[in-house]
Symmetry: C2
Subunit: 248 residues, 2 copies
């Protein structure tokens, strides 16, 4: 299972992903689900992926082959020569359709879903930062100030804290904390989502990758955040009065 | 959608359910999903239901017809004349199978799943309190001190807080708070789960229904709990230091 998350705020975008790709008892593998593409000063794009590893890797292989082909041929459409983030998301959707045309029938024939959800976000010079969720069918939706985050994979355990406190006006560094708490809730309730956690913290108008970190399970900051959150939540419950009708 | 929850602790059992049965835009109905059956001094049983309303109502109608038949005929097997909670749960599973034999084929033919999950819990004199999750296939599992809660319906949003703080050693009144916070997380993240919330608070060895309350959306206690939780969680995030790498 996978959990990837992108938080859009006025100050920028936070991208987070777990790294567990197979949670069979003897098959725990660590794979990055975050790919960063930038042309500093012109654009920064980050692509998060959830689903069947073969499908998502095939999509990314095509994206990267198109980029390589684009170096020799300016006419070759690729992820980094689109006019807007909207057309970049449509481009990724078209690559997903290319993979569907190749593999979907064979997968479905064996009862394997064509499972591929992606988040693409970032900024292109002169435009505002945006994030998109691209579906297995190739279509997409984007976030907005009133619906400022997108999730793929195991999304539910980590949603309550975001619904509770994260808004478009939340600061970028505060957004990192919300993202890590959302990730931690998911790690705790679903053992098939696992550390390390990868985080990209993009600040609006910097047009370059910014802070990209890989946080191990025993990372002192992550441990401290988890510990404060765990103890804090339990104290909060204790401080709430007992309902009269449930008293001794 | 539905969310029902049962929390087993040394001091007793908390049962909670929402009451929304249809969340189509013009079709919000309130139906109880909690049924309480007791013979004070001998046994207390509580049955929570999630799934297709026709299926769950048909199951409960058969349960109640068997009870009525049992009044005239002591040999008639019913929910209140079982030897143990285990056989009570098997009995409910058999009633689900009776309904499946009647309706499952017709439902599946129109693409409607035979959706029926139930929680049965309580206590029989001389035995310990127990809770069971009964599946649409009629089989069941029970909770235990190391896995002390069961959920049916929209279960994920409300799971993190339980994983975080509720244990078999949590007090009964504290359990009510955990249950209401879990319910509130679900109400907030899924609009198709709705108030009023029904709660039954059963204390071990009382062998009678105990505190059974129906909590409206504007109930002062629920409003206060929600407000304290909401503000408390946001303050907790604010108090966590920002990671060095995400600073200004």
């Amino acid at each position: 299972m996978t959990y990837c998350l992108s938080l859009l705020c006025r100050e920028g975008i936070v991208f987070l992903s777990d790294t567990r790709t197979s949670a069979g008892a003897e098959n725990l593998k660590v794979h990055s689900k975050m790919r960063i593409y930038d042309r500093p000063g012109d654009r920064l794009l980050c692509l998060l992926s959830a689903g069947n590893l073969s499908v998502t890797q095939t999509v990314c292989s095509f994206v990267e082959e198109d980029l390589a082909a684009g170096e020799g041929d300016a006419g070759q459409e690729n992820l980094l020569n689109q006019q807007s983030l909207f057309t970049s998301a449509r481009y990724v959707g078209n690559v997903i359709r290319r993979v569907a045309a190749l593999d979907r029938t064979a997968l479905l024939a064996d009862g394997i879903g064509f499972d591929c959800n992606m988040i693409l976000g970032g900024q292109i010079a002169g435009k505002r930062p945006q994030i998109f969720h691209i579906y297995p069918q190739g279509n997409s939706i984007h976030a907005s100030p009133s619906a400022p985050f997108l999730q793929i994979g195991e999304t539910k355990y980590g949603k309550p804290i975001l619904d509770r406190g994260f808004t478009y006006e939340t600061g970028l560094a505060e957004g990192v904390k919300y993202g890590l708490i959302s990730m931690d809730a998911t790690l705790k309730s679903n053992v098939s989502v696992g550390t390390p956690v990868e985080v990209l913290c993009y600040r609006t108008d910097t047009l370059t990758a910014g802070k990209h970190v890989w946080i191990e399970d025993r990372d002192p900051y992550l441990s401290d955040l988890r510990d404060r959150w765990h103890k804090g939540v339990i104290s909060l419950v204790q401080e709430i009065p007992v309902p009269r009708w449930a008293g001794q």
